[in-house]
Amino acid sequence: MLEAIVSAASNLLDIQVVLTLLLGVTIGMIFGALPGVGGMLAMVIALPFTFGWEPSTAIYFLIGIMGSVTFAGSIPAILLNTPGTGPNVCTCFDGYPMTKKGQGGKALGMSATASALGALFGVFILMLCIPFTRAIVLAFSAPEFFWLVMFGLVSVAFAARGNMIKGLFTAGLGILISLIGYSPAILAMRFTGGSWYLFDGLPLIPVLVGLFAVSEMISYSSKGGTIVKDKVPGKLSGVFDGVKEVFRHKITFFRSAAIGTGIGIIPGIGGVVASFLAYSTAMQSSKHPETYGKGEPEGIIASEAANDAKDGGALIPTLAFGIPGSPMMAILLGAFLLHGIVPGPQLLEKNLDIAWILIFGLVIANILTSTVGLSIASYLAKLATIRVVYITPIVLLLSTSGTYLYRGNIWDVVLMMIAGVLGYTMKKYGFPVICLVMGYLLGILAEKGFQQTLQSSYGDYSVFFTRPISIVLIVLMVILISLPVINVFRSKRRNIS
């Protein structure tokens, strides 16, 4: 173990490695901050350039990109209501209202701090878990996966506070959309209308870019003017207020980071769900849930701590068995292969130093990104004073080219535009877009967990309720649902006494 740590750390004494890590961080920040072109695209484009590099250098480079995109993605989420990457979606909910109130700098400060600390938390858990990675991954079987996804779906119901009917309607629509394509569950095409494009279902990137970036640009264009009506106080003090704010909400921070790490460990669920669960749990357990969505600092902390903590968690299945915990991790595994490192069950035995390279890389990338973020936040905040006629075409251009570059299919661009119009219409009539996204992400996963459970139990339903982790998840779900009731009951009691 010690030898591996020393070997991984010694790489960092090489100036060339440090420079490539810096380069990775820079690329990651740029790609993360540009709406529509996420970290995946950055990694796909960067991958071929690492041919012929030392494996450790290449991995530092790529993990630099991975570690930096998520915080960078919160910048446009906060300032423009357009998430730079998928997992920043929940950061928009409270980040953008803060910007509108002229607190953009403070929101960025919070996001930078919560991101860096969240990532550290995730990595810390990862380090603790290295000896047990295999046991952790094997403990999560099909029934546990099913209940975890149900947990996510149930929390959708709270997301649309005030108009639950609209929220549930939209989530249902999202689930239907998620069922499009070839289904390994029933071994047939569903809702494809004979189109080969729909065989694999609606692709994630065009849908998300359309729903969040394009729709926002449509609404900007219809309003005109600037995002912030008054002059933004781009003061540095605001940024440091943000830093302090994170330390004031320790419980929210730790709970969210823990949720993020936990979701990261389970492959196939992803950062959007991680930050959403952290967000809705924070709201659900808050004494003043009504402030969420209107510029509640805890909302940003929850979302950003969770989406950065998930990277540490996602490394657990990657190191244990070579299972990619997230789409970006899948590209990283491709890079391993390219450099002759076989990501499989023996990775930790044969290449323990890789684990430490990933850990160091992730930590350094996050700290660097957040430091840079903090130091330029007050300037960045002024972005919100630029007239939207200048912002819209740039974001649209980036969204379109990013979506096209993702896999070179022009139909993806068409889909992105359709999703954009849909997102705009939904927002206009008060249908929460996030509910659609959660249904779309989780619907198919719920089906998969359900079907795999029944397939492996020869059709016996009792397995859903007989396994310890499943029961814990069910209990947690019940608590989450009843939390507001408990809170009301408590405060009533207090009033009486």
Binding site: M43, V44, L47, P48, F51, V137, L138, F140, S141, A142, Y182, P184, A185, I186, L187, A188, G194, W196, Y197, F199, D200, P267, G268, F321, G322, I323, P324, A330, I331, L333, G334, A335, L337, L338, G340, V342, G344, P345, Q346, E349, R407, G408, N409, K448, Q451, Q452, Q455, S456, Y458
Partner: protein, 291 residues
């Protein structure tokens, strides 16, 4: 060169390693274009519709294309009409169970299946599973929807499934790590690669299931129909040189790739062998692929 899978996968990686070496022999730049989707159909359709001037070729998963062409009537291409120039790699498939499973031989598997159907984990039942289970006569069911080889293996390790059929190359690591053990290899003979690593696995030919011998996963180079013969020949030869090039071989040995270079005639034979082997099971395969 069209690669019909995403960037970063094993197909893509091999193509990107080959591209500069191939370019050297062809005297031109070779650019990779990823056209993923529909298990490779989208990429194959794009190749089918590309100009037959030798400037567009594809690195393809032959089995999927043969299978889809057999089962679906409305495929946007005809498998026989592509020019099959080279085979680059070919994976052999192997049936495995967890190391702690009481099953050690094919007979054990047949016996166990009489008590409870064998649960096979897979992404969705493919030709390997459908053909082998039916030909051997193993009562079975499928646990499906896994996104990668690793998920398929871990499903067995978690106890969600009993057995699995995957390429030997992906399994070796799991044998070495003491998680899984091999039961049956599909092919005409024992695999020298596995034997050299100390795993003496009976082949389907050894056990008398010769119908299952062609089961394999050839990764091949194709050109659109109508590509002029002399250009096709030049590309075929450039690939044969690429596959023997020291620069390419360095990557092969370093990363333990299993290359299996074949010329155009041999590759075309592999294609028709697959068609012959799958043909009789069309109905059974169609159950799992179209429904």
């Amino acid at each position: 060169m069209i690669v019909h899978y995403n960037a970063g996968g094993s197909f893509d990686t091999a193509a990107r390693v080959m591209a500069p070496v191939l370019g050297k022999y062809l005297g031109t730049d070779v650019v990779i274009k990823n056209v993923p989707g529909s298990s490779g159909v989208v990429g194959a359709a794009e190749l089918w519709g590309s100009g037959a001037d030798g400037y567009t070729i594809g690195y393809m998963n032959l089995v999927n294309l043969v299978l889809f062409d057999l089962v679906f009537d409305d495929m946007p291409f005809e498998v026989e009409e592509f020019l099959w120039l080279n085979q680059i790699m070919s994976s052999k498939y192997i049936l495995s169970v967890p190391l702690d499973s009481p099953i050690n031989t094919v007979e054990d598997l047949i016996a166990a299946s009489k008590i409870k159907p064998i649960r096979l984990s897979c992404s969705d039942p493919g030709a390997e599973e459908v053909l082998s289970m039916n030909a051997i006569g193993i009562d079975h069911t499928y646990v499906t929807g896994f996104a990668s080889n690793v998920e398929i293996v871990t499903a067995c390790l978690k106890g969600d499934a009993d057995a699995m059929i995957q390429p030997t190359t992906t399994m070796l690591d799991w044998y070495d790590s003491g998680d899984m053990k091999p039961i049956l290899l599909f092919g005409w003979e024992k695999d020298p690669f596995l034997t050299s690593k100390g795993y003496d696995v009976p082949s389907s030919a050894d056990l008398g299931y010769s119908d299952l011998n062609p089961i394999s996963g050839p990764r091949v180079i194709a050109a659109p129909p109508g590509t002029p013969a002399h250009i096709a020949k030049a590309i075929e030869e450039a690939f044969l040189k690429t596959l023997a090039d020291p620069e390419f071989m360095e990557w092969v040995t370093e990363t333990d790739q299993l290359i299996a270079p074949k010329n155009s005639a041999e590759t075309t034979k592999i294609m028709s062998d697959l068609q012959n082997s799958y043909g009789p099971w069309k109905e059974e395969l169609a159950k799992y692929i179209t429904n």
